[in-house]
Symmetry: C2
């Protein structure tokens, strides 16, 4: 869906007509013929934009996947790979955030129609693969590079989807980009404990962190001494 | 597929007939009528065991999901949740390992047929959800419990699938359980650096460790309180 209201394209009209009908009479009960009739276009126009009825439900993922791929391809070797995949994942959330009403309507539809849930799983898998491909290249010199790439990509996607789901369930209230940043911060802190909070580049916190690791049997006075010694380093 | 060769059930015969035909003439070209004719049973018998043609390709996942759910339900509060989900995930690998030839044939089939890949994604999602549900319960008292549960479940599934894919691509050579243990060890070391090597239960280290992370500016009394609170959990 274009975000430019001045220029509703034929593609936008088809999406709008489809959602109007899905909400009115249900997804299964709506045919492609119904959609083109409501949009006032021919049947062939539908298939010029969408391979199937399922695709009209997710009109922006192809563009979003292309944007993610281009963003990752434009990475420099000096970019932290974990930061980069988190930023790439923000692009997806930004797509959802651009149109909260539509995103929430689609979420409800997807909960009801098994075929759409399955479609969504395959889209999620493509995002995860795109992130994993990039990370595999960046981790190529590590012994566990492929495994690490796959696990980190899955974790990033899970964190994104956690935030997305929470926002969609709330009916699209609040700031989804802040939510996804909080969730991605968990992943970044997992693998780059010194990276600071997630978020747009340049927002690193300066306040650094002390980590004390002690066996449970360690007496408290020793723990305090260790903490004091660490603090003394500053 | 039963592993008891003495008692080939009607269900086993249907699976065997289906795979014989899928390999001979291709998945799409095989009808359910072809399968029941080859197995020498009636059409209704097929649907007694399998809702669709896709389900006959994955005859063991329902049992495997039920085994995983039961295994997790039998957990004690003293079980390390991360160790427990890794062991639950080993059960799935064990299912694949029981019949390498069948697993490799199915893997090749799944690469070729889009509908089967999609089916597989929905099965993987159900495993991930099962692990996530368990972890959400176990992490319920943590502020980031739900997020942590979702991310850890995704990481465990990704590690398992990494090992599984590697083994299947090799044509089922080597020890898949050793491979999955290596992959799961990466996840365990990520979130429980002191957990020791992954593997079957009973290899836990006994002297556990308290980790306190604090901003450098945290006053000492707050650090001590956090340490005391953590020690108090024992």
């Amino acid at each position: 869906m274009s975000t430019n209201p001045a220029k509703p394209s034929m593609r936008d009209s088809l999406v709008a007509a489809a959602f109007q009908l899905f909400l009115e009479r249900g997804y299964e009960q709506t045919t492609i013929d119904d959609i083109v009739r409501t949009a006032g276009v021919g049947r062939r126009s539908f298939f010029r934009y969408f391979p199937s009825k399922e695709d009209v439900v997710f009109p922006d993922h192809e563009q979003s996947l292309a944007d993610m791929t281009a963003f990752l391809a434009a990475s420099e070797d000096s970019d932290d790979p974990l930061v980069r995949v988190c930023e790439a994942t923000r692009l997806v959330m930004r797509m959802y955030a651009e149109n909260p009403t539509f995103s929430v309507q689609r979420y409800r539809l997807t909960r009801e129609v098994t075929g759409l849930r399955t479609y969504e799983l395959s889209v999620v898998w493509r995002y995860e693969k795109t992130l994993g491909d990039y990370l595999r290249t960046r981790f190529a010199d590590r012994r566990d590079g492929t495994l690490r790439a796959n696990v980190v990509a899955a974790a990033v996607v899970a964190a994104h989807n956690h935030a997305l789901r929470h926002w969609l369930r709330s009916g699209g209230q609040g700031d989804p980009l802040a939510e996804v940043d909080r969730a991605l911060a968990f992943v970044r802190e997992t693998w780059s404990p010194d990276a600071g909070p997630a978020g747009p580049a340049g927002e690193q916190e300066t306040d650094d962190v002390v980590v004390v690791i002690a066996k449970r049997s360690t007496p408290m006075w020793r723990v305090v001494r260790e903490v004091e010694a660490s603090l003394g380093d500053s």
